[in-house]
């Protein structure tokens, strides 16, 4: 069994030398990464570096740049992983930039451990990536052979014992229901963890309307009609936005006491153009 040497992993299509090459051709979509290890490996391969002597500054900067390119597209799990790797890289980069200090320093040791852990994971990932490439070649090779699968000739089909379903109509219906049920989305949704999305802008508008008419209210009364914690939080953030635009003032007579909100803005003309920033959703 021949196995490519580890060095070829992640770099074998990079013969052209320009850009980041991957299985299946050159990768023009910079945000098309399987994960942080994938990205890191590609960056390292691009700079023809050994993972153990990564030119940290460059790779770190590019890594961060790619995360920014990803924008809001990441799912939660993926984004977390990217951030962990990015944080570790930044740590290492910072350590490099500082003058060499005392190696016995506990922080330095922790940093070394973090580095080693990151690289160990990266190297393990690289090994499996190499295996995946071998699998891909085997699959392609196997796909050129088609197995013989034909209907049993009648003379043999006829000697088969009568087929037993082994289930009744009710079980058959259940099987059909399972098969026909709408398929769960390909990724686990996190929607169920949250109350319906709450828009900070909407909450701010609600507050603006109420405060403009009543002039003053406690925070407690302002959130009395909220159904979810998320709504309370959204309303609080909306309040902060109103404070930032100097439409409200706060009074709190005692620590942890009721928060009194006073309307100090204009007539609450609902000029939404004033609030272009407050359109992020709190979920």
């Amino acid at each position: 069994m021949t196995v490519p040497p580890p060095e070829t992993a992640g770099t074998d299509a990079a013969a052209g030398g320009t850009g980041t090459a991957t299985r299946g051709g050159f990768d023009v979509h910079l945000d098309n990464f399987e994960g942080p290890f994938d990205l890191l490996l590609r960056l390292i391969a691009k700079h023809k570096l050994d993972v153990t002597e990564v030119a940290l500054s460059r790779v770190t900067d590019e890594f961060i740049a790619h995360i920014e390119l990803g924008g809001r597209e990441w799912d939660l799990g993926q984004a977390t992983e990217f951030l962990v790797v990015a944080a570790t890289l930044l740590d290492l980069k910072a350590a490099r930039l500082l003058p060499a200090g005392d190696v016995d320093d506990e922080d330095d040791l922790a940093l070394l451990e973090a580095r080693d852990l990151l690289f160990a994971r990266l190297l393990q990932y690289r090994a499996f990536k190499a295996i995946a490439e071998i699998f891909g070649r085997w699959e392609a090779d196997a796909a050129t052979r088609f197995p013989r699968v034909v209907t049993l000739e009648p003379r043999y089909a006829n000697v088969l014992p009568e087929v037993l379903l082994g289930i009744g109509a009710q079980q058959l219906a259940r099987l059909a229901a399972e098969a026909l049920a709408p398929k769960a989305p390909p990724a686990v949704s996190v929607d169920h963890l949250h109350a319906p999305r709450v828009s900070v802008r909407e909450q701010a508008d609600i507050l603006r309307r109420r405060l403009a008419s009543v002039g003053q209210a406690t925070f407690r009364s302002l959130v009395a009609d909220c159904e979810h914690t998320a709504e309370v939080v959204g309303r609080f953030l909306g309040l902060l936005e109103l404070y930032r635009e100097q439409s409200v003032a706060f009074d709190q007579l005692a620590p942890l006491g009721d928060l009194h909100v006073r309307w100090v803005g204009g007539d609450g003309g609902m000029d939404r153009e004033d609030l272009p920033e407050i359109d992020e959703e709190y979920a």
Binding site: A157, L172, A179, P182, H192
Partner: protein, 206 residues
Amino acid sequence: MSETEPDAASGEADSGELRDEKRLRSAVEAVLLVVDEPVSAVALAEALAWPTSDVARALGELREEYDRRRRGMELREVGGGWRLYSRSDFAAYVERFVLDGQRTRLTHAALETLAVVAYRQPVTRARIAAIRGVGVDGVVRTLLTRNLIEESGTDPDTGGGLFRTTPLFLERLGLSALDELPDLAPLLPEHSELGADLALDPDADL
């Protein structure tokens, strides 16, 4: 009777044409191995981009060779097409093998496919595959063989073959008509239930 292959004598002095003829026979053999329905010499010739007369000769040669050497396969011309069968001399073994296999019970995949056909008939293979999310050729074939489903015309839109359940299927379920199949609606999960299931999944990657 000589057991020597036709091209054995030529040895390494194979002419290009002879090599091609041999290769053509092998290509024909390769296609015959995978086809389920008898295939005509014309269809083969078209796929192989060879003159039909050459393909027809290759088919004849293959048949003759299988017979002469008493191979395990026979090439038979059935209804204007050619198909490989296992040689009848060995029917006793094949029968024993088929009976040995645990073929009396249907697999889960086959039952699920049968359920889909039962509730969506007449239905194309492609539609079943789309519902089940996997290729269904093998199980459809099994269900056809076991006479639980049958072909019933073609889909006017896609031209794909349509399948429906057979009287044997009803008999096996102890039903007298399709409308006795249990109503599916109460069994289909509500959206909220789906959400609850997901929330309880301890393995969910969150």
